[in-house]
Symmetry: C2
Subunit: 123 residues, 2 copies
Protein backbone atom coordinates (compact mmCIF):
# COMPACT_ATOMS: atom_id res chain seq x y z
CA UNK A 1 0.00 0.00 0.00
CA UNK A 2 1.42 3.32 -1.01
CA UNK A 3 -1.59 5.13 0.50
CA UNK A 4 -2.26 8.85 0.47
CA UNK A 5 -3.17 9.17 -3.21
CA UNK A 6 0.20 8.32 -4.72
CA UNK A 7 -1.40 6.29 -7.48
CA UNK A 8 0.54 7.80 -10.36
CA UNK A 9 3.66 9.88 -10.09
CA UNK A 10 3.51 11.36 -13.56
CA UNK A 11 2.72 14.92 -12.62
CA UNK A 12 3.77 14.91 -9.05
CA UNK A 13 7.12 16.37 -9.96
CA UNK A 14 7.60 19.91 -8.83
CA UNK A 15 10.40 21.24 -11.00
CA UNK A 16 11.71 24.20 -9.05
CA UNK A 17 14.90 25.25 -10.85
CA UNK A 18 17.06 23.20 -13.20
CA UNK A 19 16.38 19.52 -12.92
CA UNK A 20 18.01 18.32 -16.10
CA UNK A 21 15.39 15.98 -17.49
CA UNK A 22 12.35 13.92 -16.69
CA UNK A 23 12.46 11.73 -13.59
CA UNK A 24 12.30 8.36 -15.31
CA UNK A 25 8.56 8.36 -15.98
CA UNK A 26 7.63 6.71 -12.72
CA UNK A 27 6.45 3.15 -12.83
CA UNK A 28 7.02 2.25 -16.45
CA UNK A 29 10.44 1.13 -15.23
CA UNK A 30 11.23 -2.55 -15.29
CA UNK A 31 10.54 -3.96 -11.84
CA UNK A 32 13.52 -5.25 -9.89
CA UNK A 33 12.29 -8.83 -9.56
CA UNK A 34 11.40 -8.97 -13.23
CA UNK A 35 14.78 -7.52 -14.12
CA UNK A 36 16.51 -10.12 -11.98
CA UNK A 37 14.67 -12.88 -13.77
CA UNK A 38 15.64 -11.56 -17.18
CA UNK A 39 19.20 -10.87 -16.12
CA UNK A 40 19.61 -14.42 -14.89
CA UNK A 41 18.72 -15.75 -18.32
CA UNK A 42 21.07 -13.36 -20.08
CA UNK A 43 23.79 -14.34 -17.65
CA UNK A 44 23.44 -17.89 -18.89
CA UNK A 45 24.31 -16.56 -22.34
CA UNK A 46 27.17 -14.38 -21.16
CA UNK A 47 29.86 -17.02 -21.49
CA UNK A 48 31.51 -17.85 -24.83
CA UNK A 49 31.67 -21.55 -24.11
CA UNK A 50 27.98 -21.69 -23.27
CA UNK A 51 27.16 -19.96 -26.53
CA UNK A 52 29.25 -22.54 -28.34
CA UNK A 53 27.42 -25.31 -26.51
CA UNK A 54 24.14 -23.83 -27.71
CA UNK A 55 25.55 -23.62 -31.20
CA UNK A 56 26.57 -27.26 -31.16
CA UNK A 57 23.36 -28.52 -29.61
CA UNK A 58 21.08 -26.56 -31.90
CA UNK A 59 22.96 -27.55 -35.03
CA UNK A 60 23.30 -31.24 -34.35
CA UNK A 61 21.46 -33.71 -36.53
CA UNK A 62 18.86 -34.89 -34.07
CA UNK A 63 18.91 -31.57 -32.18
CA UNK A 64 20.32 -33.54 -29.30
CA UNK A 65 23.82 -33.82 -27.97
CA UNK A 66 25.50 -35.60 -25.12
CA UNK A 67 28.29 -34.40 -22.85
CA UNK A 68 30.94 -36.61 -24.40
CA UNK A 69 30.53 -34.81 -27.74
CA UNK A 70 30.94 -31.39 -26.20
CA UNK A 71 34.10 -31.82 -24.20
CA UNK A 72 36.41 -32.31 -27.16
CA UNK A 73 35.34 -29.52 -29.55
CA UNK A 74 35.18 -27.03 -26.70
CA UNK A 75 38.54 -27.95 -25.24
CA UNK A 76 37.01 -28.21 -21.78
CA UNK A 77 37.12 -31.00 -19.23
CA UNK A 78 34.00 -32.99 -18.44
CA UNK A 79 33.17 -31.34 -15.09
CA UNK A 80 33.33 -27.94 -16.71
CA UNK A 81 31.00 -28.98 -19.52
CA UNK A 82 28.57 -30.44 -17.01
CA UNK A 83 28.72 -27.21 -15.05
CA UNK A 84 27.86 -25.10 -18.09
CA UNK A 85 25.09 -27.47 -19.11
CA UNK A 86 23.56 -27.21 -15.66
CA UNK A 87 23.53 -23.43 -15.92
CA UNK A 88 21.79 -23.57 -19.30
CA UNK A 89 19.27 -26.10 -18.00
CA UNK A 90 18.58 -24.08 -14.86
CA UNK A 91 18.01 -21.02 -17.04
CA UNK A 92 15.33 -22.91 -18.93
CA UNK A 93 17.25 -22.78 -22.18
CA UNK A 94 18.32 -26.41 -22.49
CA UNK A 95 16.40 -29.58 -21.80
CA UNK A 96 18.14 -32.61 -20.30
CA UNK A 97 16.99 -36.15 -20.99
CA UNK A 98 18.79 -39.12 -19.57
CA UNK A 99 18.63 -42.25 -21.69
CA UNK A 100 20.58 -45.13 -20.29
CA UNK A 101 24.09 -44.01 -19.50
CA UNK A 102 24.04 -40.92 -21.63
CA UNK A 103 22.40 -37.55 -21.09
CA UNK A 104 21.02 -35.85 -24.17
CA UNK A 105 20.50 -32.12 -24.40
CA UNK A 106 18.22 -30.11 -26.63
CA UNK A 107 17.18 -26.49 -26.87
CA UNK A 108 13.87 -25.81 -25.15
CA UNK A 109 11.44 -24.83 -27.93
CA UNK A 110 10.73 -21.12 -27.85
CA UNK A 111 13.21 -20.32 -25.10
CA UNK A 112 15.60 -18.31 -27.24
CA UNK A 113 12.76 -16.71 -29.18
CA UNK A 114 11.15 -15.48 -25.98
CA UNK A 115 14.45 -14.06 -24.79
CA UNK A 116 14.98 -12.36 -28.12
CA UNK A 117 11.56 -10.75 -28.03
CA UNK A 118 12.26 -9.30 -24.61
CA UNK A 119 14.96 -7.21 -26.27
CA UNK A 120 12.64 -5.70 -28.81
CA UNK A 121 10.49 -2.61 -28.16
CA UNK A 122 6.96 -3.22 -26.89
CA UNK A 123 8.23 -6.74 -26.20
Amino acid sequence: MSATTTDTVELGLQITDETCCVPASGDKVLQLTEAELLAARFKALSDPNRLRILSIVSSSEELETCVCDLSEPLGLKQPTVSHHLKILVDAGILHREKRGVWAYFSVVPGALESLASSLLPKN
Copy 2:
Protein backbone atom coordinates in the same frame (compact mmCIF):
# COMPACT_ATOMS: atom_id res chain seq x y z
CA MET B 1 38.34 -30.84 -43.24
CA SER B 2 35.99 -33.74 -43.14
CA ALA B 3 36.43 -34.33 -46.90
CA THR B 4 35.63 -37.55 -48.78
CA THR B 5 31.94 -36.97 -49.48
CA THR B 6 30.89 -36.03 -45.98
CA ASP B 7 28.36 -33.54 -47.22
CA THR B 8 25.98 -34.81 -44.62
CA VAL B 9 27.23 -36.55 -41.58
CA GLU B 10 24.20 -38.67 -41.13
CA LEU B 11 25.76 -41.88 -42.34
CA GLY B 12 29.43 -40.95 -42.33
CA LEU B 13 29.81 -42.04 -38.78
CA GLN B 14 31.48 -45.39 -38.45
CA ILE B 15 29.95 -46.69 -35.28
CA THR B 16 32.41 -49.34 -34.18
CA ASP B 17 31.14 -49.98 -30.72
CA GLU B 18 29.04 -47.48 -28.80
CA THR B 19 29.85 -43.91 -29.63
CA CYS B 20 26.82 -42.23 -28.22
CA CYS B 21 26.07 -39.64 -30.88
CA VAL B 22 27.46 -37.49 -33.66
CA PRO B 23 30.77 -35.67 -33.10
CA ALA B 24 29.46 -32.13 -33.08
CA SER B 25 29.26 -31.74 -36.86
CA GLY B 26 32.72 -30.29 -37.30
CA ASP B 27 33.02 -26.65 -38.24
CA LYS B 28 29.43 -25.49 -38.01
CA VAL B 29 30.31 -24.66 -34.41
CA LEU B 30 30.42 -21.04 -33.38
CA GLN B 31 34.01 -19.85 -33.46
CA LEU B 32 35.63 -18.95 -30.17
CA THR B 33 36.40 -15.33 -31.04
CA GLU B 34 32.91 -14.80 -32.39
CA ALA B 35 31.45 -16.41 -29.29
CA GLU B 36 33.52 -14.13 -27.08
CA LEU B 37 32.21 -11.08 -28.89
CA LEU B 38 28.61 -12.18 -28.51
CA ALA B 39 29.10 -13.23 -24.90
CA ALA B 40 30.52 -9.82 -24.03
CA ARG B 41 27.36 -8.14 -25.27
CA PHE B 42 25.11 -10.53 -23.40
CA LYS B 43 27.20 -9.98 -20.29
CA ALA B 44 26.29 -6.31 -20.50
CA LEU B 45 22.66 -7.41 -20.21
CA SER B 46 23.28 -9.88 -17.41
CA ASP B 47 22.75 -7.43 -14.57
CA PRO B 48 19.29 -6.45 -13.33
CA ASN B 49 20.24 -2.83 -12.76
CA ARG B 50 21.61 -2.50 -16.28
CA LEU B 51 18.38 -3.89 -17.66
CA ARG B 52 16.47 -1.34 -15.62
CA ILE B 53 18.74 1.39 -16.96
CA LEU B 54 17.91 0.25 -20.47
CA SER B 55 14.24 0.23 -19.56
CA ILE B 56 14.39 3.77 -18.26
CA VAL B 57 16.46 5.14 -21.11
CA SER B 58 14.37 3.56 -23.83
CA SER B 59 11.09 4.65 -22.28
CA SER B 60 12.01 8.22 -21.50
CA GLU B 61 10.30 11.07 -23.27
CA GLU B 62 13.09 12.16 -25.56
CA LEU B 63 14.69 8.72 -25.58
CA GLU B 64 17.49 10.33 -23.65
CA THR B 65 18.37 10.22 -20.00
CA CYS B 66 21.08 11.68 -17.82
CA VAL B 67 22.84 10.11 -14.87
CA CYS B 68 21.08 12.21 -12.27
CA ASP B 69 17.73 10.72 -13.28
CA LEU B 70 18.96 7.16 -12.95
CA SER B 71 20.52 7.21 -9.52
CA GLU B 72 17.33 7.74 -7.59
CA PRO B 73 14.90 5.26 -9.18
CA LEU B 74 17.57 2.56 -9.17
CA GLY B 75 18.60 3.13 -5.60
CA LEU B 76 22.24 3.21 -6.60
CA LYS B 77 24.93 5.77 -5.93
CA GLN B 78 26.27 7.91 -8.73
CA PRO B 79 29.60 6.07 -9.23
CA THR B 80 27.73 2.80 -9.58
CA VAL B 81 25.38 4.23 -12.17
CA SER B 82 28.31 5.66 -14.12
CA HIS B 83 29.99 2.27 -13.97
CA HIS B 84 26.96 0.48 -15.41
CA LEU B 85 26.51 3.12 -18.08
CA LYS B 86 30.11 2.70 -19.16
CA ILE B 87 29.60 -1.03 -19.53
CA LEU B 88 26.53 -0.50 -21.69
CA VAL B 89 28.33 2.09 -23.79
CA ASP B 90 31.39 -0.13 -24.23
CA ALA B 91 29.11 -2.94 -25.33
CA GLY B 92 27.76 -0.73 -28.08
CA ILE B 93 24.27 -0.73 -26.63
CA LEU B 94 24.07 2.82 -25.32
CA HIS B 95 25.25 6.08 -26.84
CA ARG B 96 26.69 8.84 -24.68
CA GLU B 97 26.39 12.50 -25.60
CA LYS B 98 27.73 15.22 -23.39
CA ARG B 99 25.85 18.50 -23.57
CA GLY B 100 27.13 21.11 -21.20
CA VAL B 101 27.35 19.69 -17.74
CA TRP B 102 25.04 16.78 -18.33
CA ALA B 103 25.60 13.52 -20.15
CA TYR B 104 22.66 12.15 -22.08
CA PHE B 105 22.26 8.51 -22.94
CA SER B 106 20.24 6.84 -25.66
CA VAL B 107 19.89 3.34 -27.02
CA VAL B 108 22.02 2.77 -30.12
CA PRO B 109 19.56 2.19 -32.97
CA GLY B 110 19.47 -1.45 -33.98
CA ALA B 111 21.78 -2.64 -31.22
CA LEU B 112 19.18 -4.64 -29.33
CA GLU B 113 17.56 -5.86 -32.53
CA SER B 114 20.87 -7.24 -33.79
CA LEU B 115 21.46 -8.98 -30.49
CA ALA B 116 17.97 -10.43 -30.58
CA SER B 117 18.43 -11.78 -34.07
CA SER B 118 21.59 -13.57 -33.02
CA LEU B 119 19.42 -15.69 -30.77
CA LEU B 120 17.12 -16.82 -33.52
CA PRO B 121 17.81 -19.80 -35.77
CA LYS B 122 19.55 -19.08 -39.08
CA ASN B 123 20.38 -15.72 -37.48
